[in-house]
Symmetry: D2
Subunit: 336 residues, 4 copies
């Protein structure tokens, strides 16, 4: 549902090659009737569907509906779908926060179905794999939260840092702003420039905070997003005060993520590049200990449209339907 | 053989997901002993090999060797490999020209094994599919020639144009210049700028000319390459004087390429974008007729590293080994 | 008038440092009341004006009004200004074509003051310097026409080419599309891609044709614009059939442009880069003769916002007001 | 001295328009004898000099020599020049650190003239204006240090922050890496990607630390540089623990920089963009107070080649020679 944005087209790119999926309906209010491949010519020959009107009827035979819609769309339609026995993955933010007042404050709307929020599972497999397997409704994490949380899980869960000392300085490609007509994301406004935005508060801050507090109730952070002159990729540079001398941190990361198919712990001293994960569902992390400052610096990179959105949604789908978790997600990054 | 360039890493990206291939040896004189994934971190988790020294011995158990080496390497080693019963695809230029004096003039070297040149098949499946199936040695076409020739085959073969009136104005991404330490291809020299180069003569000119003359002995062209501030993609804009009134040209293109899995004829009036084929083995073409000028303009786009190099090599491999021609090449382009 | 586009901000950048100019009014309907430097922070400290409503009254004390507005604005207001003794330079297209029916066909509107069209001088100093000095109303040339016409003037005027054999393959930075909210010019749509557009007809075609026919009535051309993943710069690659053997062409160019302050003829064999003129009012040209094809290829680069728009407007202003033609335009290009 | 790098060409771009300067000698060992404008075609028509061999003799009639050379060149030649009464500005790092052992540790060399280090003035006019006026030898600051120190001076000097709590997360354009043949700065390696580098220690860390400790001896910081896919610009995002409630911080910045021609304090809530200072000698800063975290975040942008290198050198020259400090530096940034 909602196939005209960057998350939508990326989801289609992944699903058309997925051996366990049949793509049966793509909806769009604004483009209904138009061939999908006319809007996204990369899909010519791969997707033969037209955009449909988003009526519940068109989903009747589906096992799963992905919402790649703007915020506040999924919350008004999820209930009806679930009632039909259709499972739901929302790639927007409607079900990401358990705390309804916080959600309503940051998203500037009244939540349309708070009852479902408790049901929803936050779809970060590295944290909630078992719950996702059982879920009817998955809240796919935000792009920044995925990169930041994966950078912090080993440190926080093993109490290697002061939990309230976190600074997450994040750099995102412009596709994170979505596919839309806006001066601010025009080529001539974005290229050859860098800027911070929303320094005084970004919607992903409460999301990260809530998830981290599930690991350590004392966790808190400063979060600063920056817009980069590139399409894909998030680079999170995460600082925290160390409680120890850094001696065991590399092993802690390697242990924590040993069995994770999509988190790659780099060797000591590494500086991962966002391009190394372009198009891939991998999050690469490298941890540095700075002895003079007594701080950890974790570098975490992902493709915001894949592990930060569509790829993670497919990973969640695989888990929900008992498929191999990596199915359809095995392709390495494209470099250069 | 020769896995440290952009053609090499792209070939590995495609081969690691190919169900009929086992990647057994990657060679590099300069990087021998180093893990491949250290040089190309996108392959971490996909390629566990180290670079080897390029000795014939290391290939003994291979069915096929790809040369992704500089020009003049393959011609000195192909004979030994073929003698061992190992088939060869050369992604460089050593076997592309049948006319040895022309080759020697443009490549500034004496050809090391002219005898093999006659044996070699020019690996453009749309032109030479049957010969490729039988070939022991395939000369994989150049990136520009692939885009230009595919733009012209329907026009030339159906005699719709004056064969000596062709102008091919071509725009290429910087990956076409290879992975190397050079001021001229540095980020700060290439980005935010466009320039022509080799206007007075480029090595791909004799290659295109020889292939076109196989279709119409009177064919000739002007060829002007330009360097673009992007990584991947070639856009060929090809002009020629029409012999007719343009009425049947769309049908001519559609007929000509009806059964081709990797040439996509766009609807009338289209303007294909290079990004629509990023990472894909597709060449998209659109033909325009300009009545006032009596000219055809064909727009032809490809990913120079895929249909213009590594992808076409895999397509050739599939044909040589009796595999489905599209195996391992089904992924749509990545957009955005 | 109309200071919110890229042409407007570039004009301000040049005018604030121009020793003979006092910038007194900047208008914008949509931004009236807002400080100019809020929209364009590069001008903080240089421009202290707010945007005004575009009433004739606000211009009363001006000697000159620049129209950096969309097409069809200047034609409805120029008469009133001229009536007040205020001279006018229109950076849009309202007065570029002498042939009214052609204008009306390509711009899809009825011309509001055809009487003024005869009065207007086409503001290409290299062609019309004396007329510009006397002009009350100057039609500033289009960006593509400037690059293409300057590439051709020596060849056409000295009858070195077949006048109807011209092909102009042009590559433009995205700023040529203007500052606007549109999906098609979004960063993620433009970067890392190249495409042709308007192959079947672009408004600059009749403009170039009319000007060239003023030099040689038999002149005609094919014109193909392409969108480049860069902000500034036009690269015109212009092909034409030679009538001679190329022996005197370098001297012809050097002679023709010997006294021109803003046309730089490069040495034989050169390939000018668009970045070499970034921010400068220079057009660099290089002419190549291809003996096998009997064709000339002229490479012509300019900054579309400077020599292709705002800089040329300042050059015209200098001429109209008896100032040194290069005043305020002496800065070299910015590289890298 | 040393005119073949990006700092050198930028210095020439500024000096050719400077009314108080005559550019008399440009040296380069590798390019001696070649016209400067052949290497840098943007300077065609502006610089008519050839590169000279860097002998002391060629400088005899100069009042000032700029070293735009690699580190360790200036320290071996400055003494001879000063002995001739020629003043020196070193744009490299030889005289930036007063502490010789620290310099030797970070630059891996024995300092060739420690005696001169005491004489040298650190050329940050906002800190050392009076000393610069009297200086014979100026150590022009590093690009990162300029952006970081200007972000911190008001906070540190007014004791608004915990001095050892600073984190400076910095993003730099690729021109900071210099003009050189290297795979790591090739277009295809840098574009569409972001990475941190030298997380465990960068040469600008001791430089920043030494300068900050001149303001507050307890100052210390973590400094993390990142490479951005753009040519020009540094964005420093600087975090520090607040000692107060943020109420007076905007006024503190505005007071501190009230008379500074090249530091622009943005209004509260601003997010400066690096492109707003492209080509300009301005550093734009914006300060944010985060009440929940009790931290300040300062956003500081500059053009690394101008305020971070060549422009600041010209500013220093103006001070040293009693010229108006802004002479030759008045041009606003180029946007877009």
């Amino acid at each position: 549902m909602g196939g005209t944005g960057y998350t939508g087209v990326e989801l289609m790119r992944l699903l058309v090659r997925h051996p366990g999926v049949q793509l049966s309906v793509i909806t769009s209010r604004s483009e209904a009737g138009k061939p999908v491949a006319e809007l996204f010519p990369n899909l010519r020959g791969s997707v033969d569907l037209d955009f449909s009107q988003p009526d519940v009827d068109v989903y009747r035979d589906c096992d799963l509906v992905f919402f790649a819609t703007p915020n506040t769309t999924a919350m008004s339609q999820a209930e009806a779908l679930l009632g039909e026995g259709i499972r739901v993955i929302d790639l927007a933010a409607d079900f990401r926060l358990r705390d309804i007042p916080t959600w309503e404050q940051w998203y500037g709307a009244t939540h349309a179905c708070p009852a479902l929020v408790e049901d929803a599972v936050y779809g970060l497999p590295e944290l909630n794999r078992d719950a996702i397997r059982q879920a009817r409704l998955v809240a796919n994490p935000g792009c920044y939260p995925t990169a930041v949380i994966l950078a912090l899980l080993p440190l926080l869960s093993r109490q290697l840092i002061e939990p309230a000392s976190i600074v997450a300085d994040c750099k995102s490609g412009t596709s994170g702003a979505g596919r839309k007509a806006a001066v601010g994301t025009a080529f001539c406004e974005v290229t050859e420039s860098v800027k911070a935005y929303a320094v005084d508060g970004h919607r992903h801050l409460p999301e990260i905070r809530e998830v981290l507090r599930g690991v350590d109730p004392a966790a808190d952070l400063v979060f600063t997003p920056h817009l980069m002159p590139m399409v894909r990729g998030i680079h999170a540079t995460v600082y925290a005060d160390a409680r120890d001398d850094g001696a065991g941190v590399q092993a802690a990361f390697e242990d924590y993520y040993r069995d994770e198919p999509f988190v790659d712990v780099m060797p000591p001293g590494s500086h991962p590049e966002t391009r190394s994960v372009r198009g891939a569902n991998t999050c690469r992390v490298a941890v540095h200990y700075l002895p003079a400052a007594g701080k950890y610096v974790v570098l975490s990179v992902e493709d915001n449209l894949v592990k930060g959105a569509a790829g993670q949604a497919v990973q969640n789908m695989n888990l929900m339907f008992g498929l191999d978790e990596t199915l359809g997600l095995e392709a390495p990054g494209m470099m250069p």
